[in-house]
Each structure stands twice: as structure tokens, then as C-alpha cells.
């Protein structure tokens, strides 16, 4: 790949007309969160509808702005709105400003659109939870923070939103805070995100020292002034931030644990929106990544490694949400791979992000619906034969499943195949490695998703002879309309989004002002006409293997033990947690223990020792105070004699 790719930057105009309403996008959900947090129990009766309403209203505002923007020439579609001076000290001036361009508006529609559906679904899903109002407050807080993240026109606002979504994610993962596993998962997510956030902060610091400005417009105009080493450092540190937020290698292990949160949270935050912030970050910084081939290569490598990790581990889990979580890790790996390919991939990454937003959110909502019916059991070995009892869930989930594995002409087919084609088009070893592994992972995706479908909706009704952990019989039933309606909408999106967005390169042209024109991937390892057939064939093979191994045998209720080495490794997350434990956590514990020892013995020892020395010696000294006046008189005499003697010596020598 070319090391340096010139970037055409768009002219930036002031937002006017409908676009001047952009502040409402953030203000509405933020207001909803504020009211719900402060109103207390009085809002319990209507709070959830306020939560749904503010996000839906933001979606309407987003639609109005998008239609307004579509009416403009492509060159004029990048607009900014400065709300107020946020930080103004010495040389650092940061506006609280919004950047409305095709990229950010795409995200606005995704966040508020999918967000509204999932808010609606949560009304039903959380109906038995006494803290439902607080739940909606936190969801609204998340939407507001996510919109700050994508709409900000500078890196500081990006960071503000980045931390805001991190906070909301932490709160919501730990929603069932009485469960130790949920509390631990929340802490784990928070800590691993901190690692990434430090990378992002350092990247921003370097940008500031190099350029003295943090606005996107100025930074991208002048990024050419930064020398090579600093540029690579910036790109790698930005990627570290992206890895933390998006659950990419080597920071992927928090995302599956985050499934401890309620299922709508998993769907909205940990599948459709927040975890794609890393992809947004790399795409937004495309003018920076365009300048360094090394930076892009690192991004693509991380993407490929992650998509393999996610696909392999997904095959071994029995927990329906964890399978979907590893699937998310894997699919975000595809997106990161795509944006790592440079101008041939930015728009494809965003395309996959959008289609994935539909089908993965739909899959999670479907999984939530199944859990709702099955006393919150997540173990797929307890499911089986649910398709007749939950027809709507089955159909919507099935459509999401087909979209995810890339069934021809559904969403995933258009987005994933395009990424694999672009990966194969890379020169040299990269084409074979990236393309080959991405194809292999597509086969694995088909395998684990088919396994999930078969274990959940087909086969024997294993739940009839089992009880859930809390000792109740299972009575599966279809979910209420308020839950199925969003699932139906998302299923429709899963089917048609890919087709609609790629008609006449619709999305690529729309995003061109932000990301540059999509460069057609050419040449490379395999002829392009072959690749779609290859991918579909590999996926079909994966599905077939799943049918042969899972579908044709009764599923044991107990996990089979012992199993072969690869399955053991996959069940243990490919030892990611063990590696983190050994390399980071244990040495950290040792270090803190050593420091505590030094503090107790060294620092405290010196202080306490000095005090003991003074106390002891003064204890001895005070024995001189005998209370006998005559001994005091003697010492006075002795002192006087000494003074006189000294005076005389000075005088006579």
C-alpha cells in the first residue's frame, strides 16, 4: 500500500437553517437523563416514556438535519456549529462545537434510530425491574454522551464523549449490582477502558504539542507538518484508544464479561453503538492515517487478529449472550480491518458498522426475548425447540442470523464481502493473510451462529425436563408487542440495509466529503468475481459442519468434559484472561505489595525511628532534673566558671 495518500479536505461552513438545531440532538437526551436522575420516585410512572420520547425526538431532529444536508452540494455538506467557548486558557482554546458532516450524521441516525428502538424494547424488558426509571436515565445519559462523541468538532469533545459513554457503560454493566459477577464485570470494563483511554489522551497530547490546536479542521489541515515518528506514535496511540473502547486485541476480554448487564444494554452499547466508537475514531482521523502506511498496517493487523479470536472463541461458548458478544468482537475486527485498509476500506468499515448495528442489535434483542421467556437463563443447553413457541422471535432472530453469516443479498453479504474483497486486494502477503483469515472467520461465524440457532430454536425441548437455577419450571412464551416491534423493525433493517446502502454506492458517495472517495479495490491475490462465491461457499461449509455436529445429535444438557485442546482453549477465552492475569495483574499485585512493604518499613520506619530516638534520648536527659536545688546551683556555678574562664582566655591569649 502507498505510504502517503493525499487527503482532500472539505470546506467547512457555519451551520444554518435546520442544521442550527443540532444542539438539540445532545440537549434532548441529556435533559431526559437529568430529569430522570433528579425527579426521583415521582417519575416512576412515566419516566420510561420520557426516556423513549427524548431519544425519538433526537432521531427526528437528526432526520431533519440529514434531509437538509442531502439538499446541499457534496462540497457544502461539512458544517460546524460553535456553541460556546468551553476551555480558554493561554494557548489552548477549545470550542464546545459540533461538526455536522456525512460521517457524524450517519452515526447520529444510527445512535438515535437504534437507540429509540432499544429504548422502546426496554420498556417491556425492564417492566419488572423496580429501578426502571434509573435505567432509562442511564440509557439517556449514554445516548447524550455518544452524540457528544460523534458530533464534537475537536478531540477534547471526542474525549468528553468517550469518557461519558465509558461511564454509562460502567453503570449499566453493573446494573445488577447485587451480583458479584456483574460488579466485577463493570470494574473490569472500566479498568480495561482506562488503558485505552490513556492511549487516546496521549495521542491528543502529542497532537497538541506538535500542532498547538485540537480542532478537527485545523489538525487535518496541518497534520502534514508532523514528522514521521510522531505521526506513527499518534496513529498507534489512537488505535490503542480504539482497541479499549471497541474490545479489540489486546484489550478484548472485557467485552464478553460486559454481557452481565441487561440485554438491551448489550444490544445498544455493547453491540450497535459504543463499541463501534473505535471504528469511528479511525475513520474520523482518516487524514492522519492516510499519511502513514505503518499506522494503517497496525490497524489492519489488530483487526485481523481480533476477528479470528472472536470467531474461534464464539464456537465454544454455551452462553447465548457470550457467543453474540464474541461475534461482536469478531465483527468489529472486520470493521477495524476495513478502516485499516485506507481509502479502499473506510466507507466499507462504516457500511459494515451500520448493517452490523441492525442485525447484531436485532440478535441481542432476540436473545433478550428468549431469556425473558426462559427465566433469564442464558445457557443454550437448557433451550431447544423454541421456534414454535416464539414465532416472531424466531423469524426476526433468524433473519438477523442470516444477515450476520452473509446469506446472499441480506445485509451482511454486502458489507462483509466488500471488506473481504478489499482485503484480498492488498498487495503481497497482506492480501493473502488478511483476505484468507477474513474468509476463514466468515466460515467460523457461520459455524457458531448455526450452532446457536440449532441449540436454541431447533431440536429437542430440553427445558421440559429441566428447571432454571432459581428452581422454577420453564414456561416459554412470546414476548409482548413493545418488545417484538423493535425486533421486527431491526429485522427489516437486517434484510434490506445492506442492499439499500450499496445501491449505486449510495453510502460511499454520501460519506465521500468526510472520508474521501471510496477507491475501488483492484488486483490483488484473487479475481474479484470469485471472492463472493468463495465466501458464500466457506460460510455454507461452516453452517453444514454445524448442522452435522450439532443438529444431528441430541445436545447434552451438561457440558461435555473432557474436550480436545482447541475447545478447551476457546472455552477459556484463548487464555486472554490468564495472560492478563499473569502479565499485568500478578506483577501489579507484587509491585504494590513491595511498595507497601517499602512504605511500612522504609518511610514509616524512618519517621517512627526518628521519633523513638528523640523520645528515648529525652527520657534519659530528663533524669538530670533531680529536684535538688543544690545540684542546680552547682551546675550554675560550673557554667559561670566556664564562661569566666573562656572570657579570660580570650583576653589573655
Amino acid at each position: 500500500m502507498n505510504a502517503v495518500i493525499p487527503t482532500e479536505l472539505p470546506d467547512v461552513a457555519a451551520a444554518s437553517g435546520a442544521a442550527a438545531l443540532a444542539w438539540l440532538l445532545i440537549a434532548l437526551p441529556a435533559l431526559g437523563a437529568l430529569v430522570l436522575f433528579l425527579a426521583g420516585r415521582r417519575a416512576d410512572a412515566w419516566g420510561h416514556w420520557l426516556g423513549v420520547g427524548t431519544v425519538a425526538a433526537a432521531f427526528v431532529v437528526g432526520l431533519v438535519i440529514v434531509f437538509d444536508t442531502v439538499g446541499l452540494d457534496p462540497e457544502q455538506r461539512t458544517r460546524e456549529q460553535s456553541l460556546y467557548d468551553w476551555i480558554s486558557v493561554a494557548g489552548l482554546n477549545v470550542d464546545f462545537g459540533l461538526r455536522l458532516d456525512p460521517l457524524s450524521l450517519t452515526f447520529v441516525l444510527l445512535i438515535t434510530g437504534v437507540g429509540s428502538l432499544i429504548h422502546l424494547y426496554s420498556v417491556g424488558y425492564m417492566s419488572h425491574d423496580p429501578g426502571r426509571r434509573r435505567f432509562f436515565a442511564q440509557l439517556n445519559l449514554f445516548v447524550a454522551a455518544m452524540l457528544v462523541l460523534v458530533l464534537g468538532n475537536n478531540f477534547v469533545m471526542l474525549y468528553l464523549g468517550w469518557e461519558g459513554v465509558g461511564l454509562a457503560s460502567y453503570l449499566l454493566i453493573g446494573w445488577y449490582q447485587d451480583r458479584p459477577s456483574a460488579a466485577t464485570a463493570a470494574k473490569k470494563a472500566f479498568l480495561m477502558n482506562r488503558v485505552g483511554d490513556v492511549g487516546l489522551a496521549l495521542a491528543i497530547f502529542i497532537l497538541w504539542t506538535q500542532l498547538g490546536t485540537l480542532g478537527y479542521t485545523e489538525v487535518f489541515e496541518r497534520i502534514g507538518e508532523v514528522d514521521g515518528a510522531a505521526l506513527v506514535a499518534i496513529t498507534v496511540l489512537l488505535l490503542l484508544g480504539a482497541c479499549g473502547k471497541s474490545g479489540q486485541f489486546p484489550l478484548q476480554s472485557w467485552l464478553p464479561d460486559a454481557m452481565e448487564g441487561p440485554t438491551p444494554v448489550s444490544a445498544l452499547i455493547h453491540a450497535a453503538t459504543m463499541v463501534t466508537a473505535g471504528v469511528y475514531l479511525v475513520a474520523r482521523c482518516s487524514p492522519i492515517y492516510n499519511l502513514t502506511g505503518t499506522g494503517r498496517l497496525v490497524v489492519a493487523l489488530v483487526g485481523v487478529i481480533t476477528l479470528m479470536i472472536g470467531a474461534i472463541i464464539g464456537c465454544a461458548y454455551d452462553d447465548i449472550k457470550k457467543v453474540l458478544a464474541y461475534s461482536t468482537v469478531s465483527q468489529i475486527g472486520y470493521m477495524i480491518l476495513a478502516v485499516g485498509l485506507g481509502p479502499a476500506g473506510y466507507a466499507l468499515g462504516i457500511l459494515h458498522l451500520l448493517t452490523h448495528g441492525f442485525f447484531k442489535a436485532g440478535l441481542f434483542l432476540g436473545a433478550g426475548s428468549v431469556m425473558h421467556a426462559m427465566n433469564d437463563t442464558v445457557d443454550m443447553r437448557h433451550y431447544g425447540g423454541l421456534r414454535r413457541l416464539m414465532p416472531i422471535t424466531f423469524v426476526t432472530f433468524g433473519l438477523g442470523y442470516l444477515a450476520l453469516i452473509g446469506f446472499p443479498f441480506l445485509s451482511g453479504y454486502f458489507s462483509k464481502d466488500a471488506i473481504i474483497e478489499a482485503a484480498f486486494a492488498q498487495p503481497g502477503w497482506q492480501g493473502w493473510t488478511f483476505g484468507g483469515l477474513a474468509t476463514l472467520a466468515a466460515g467460523l461465524t457461520a459455524f457458531y451462529m448455526t450452532r446457536l440457532m440449532l441449540m436454541t430454536f431447533f431440536g429437542e425441548r430440553r427445558w421440559e425436563r429441566l428447571q432454571s437455577e432459581d428452581g422454577h419450571d420453564y414456561h416459554p412464551h412470546e414476548s409482548p408487542t413493545v418488545m417484538t416491534a423493535p425486533m421486527i423493525v431491526l429485522a427489516v433493517g437486517s434484510v434490506f440495509a445492506g442492499f439499500a446502502l450499496t445501491q449505486g454506492e449510495l453510502l460511499a458517495h454520501w460519506l465521500a466529503p468526510s472520508l474521501g472517495e471510496l477507491q475501488e479495490a483492484e488486483g490483488g491475490a484473487l479475481p474479484h468475481a470469485v471472492i463472493p462465491f468463495l465466501v458464500v461457499a466457506v460460510s455454507a461449509l461452516g453452517a453444514l459442519v454445524a448442522y452435522l455436529t450439532v443438529g444431528r445429535h441430541p445436545t447434552p444438557v451438561q457440558r461435555p468434559e473432557p474436550v480436545s485442546l482447541p475447545v478447551r482453549a476457546a472455552r477459556r477465552d484463548l487464555y486472554a484472561n490468564a495472560i492478563n492475569e499473569t502479565l499485568i495483574a500478578r506483577p501489579g499485585t507484587w509491585l504494590t505489595r513491595a511498595l507497601v512493604y517499602v512504605d511500612n518499613r522504609g518511610v514509616d520506619g524512618a519517621v517512627n525511628g526518628a521519633a523513638a530516638l528523640l523520645g528515648g534520648s529525652s527520657g534519659r536527659l530528663r533524669r538530670l532534673q533531680t529536684g535538688f536545688v543544690r545540684s542546680y546551683a552547682l551546675s550554675m556555678l560550673g557554667g559561670s566558671v566556664l564562661v569566666v574562664a573562656a572570657l579570660l582566655m580570650v583576653r589573655f591569649t
Binding site: G627, F628, R630, L637
Partner: protein, 99 residues
């Protein structure tokens, strides 16, 4: 009449007083020895005033007498009250103020 003799006498008196303070236990005797030392100093002052032909020393001797008179009043009062409470005037017995 040489002034040296007066100085020698004064030194002798001072020494007797100092030794008395150090070796005697009776508070009254100690007190008298202190008076002896003060008067030895007075003698020295007057002698030097005589040698130098100025009045400074004599003036200073008057000051010492005034201070000594005041001190006697206070000191005797203290000794009397100690004697009343403890039935003794030995300085070694009044040793409560110690470590």
C-alpha cells in the same frame, strides 16, 4: 591602704558564700550565704568605684541592695510557708519539682 586587699577580701567572702550555698542544707543558711555573695559583689563594686574615682560602682551597689532587700522579703516568705507545710527547712527535702 591598697585596693587589692579589698578585692581579695571580697573574693574570699564570695567563695565562702558560694561554698555555703553548695554544701549547706538549711534554707535559711543558704539564704544567708547568698546575701554574703551579694555583699561581696557590692564590696567589689565600691572598691572599683574608688579606684576609678567614679560613682558608677557605688550607684550599682545601691541597686544590688534594693534588689537584695526585695529578694529577702520574697525568699523568707517562701521559706516560711515551706516550713509551715513540711515542718522542715531543708532544701533537699523540697524536691518535688523533678522529672
Amino acid at each position: 591602704m591598697t585596693p587589692t586587699y579589698y578585692l581579695l577580701l571580697s573574693a574570699l567572702l564570695f567563695t565562702i558564700g558560694a561554698v555555703g550555698v553548695l554544701v549547706r542544707r538549711n534554707a535559711i543558711v543558704v539564704f544567708m550565704c547568698i546575701e554574703l555573695m551579694l555583699n561581696a559583689v557590692n564590696l567589689t563594686l565600691v572598691t572599683f568605684a574608688r579606684i576609678n574615682g567614679t560613682l558608677d560602682g557605688q550607684v550599682m551597689a545601691f541597686f544590688v541592695m534594693v534588689v537584695a532587700a526585695a529578694e529577702v522579703v520574697v525568699g523568707l516568705a517562701i521559706i516560711t510557708s515551706i516550713f509551715r507545710t513540711r515542718r522542715t527547712a531543708s532544701v533537699d527535702d523540697a524536691n518535688l519539682l523533678k522529672y
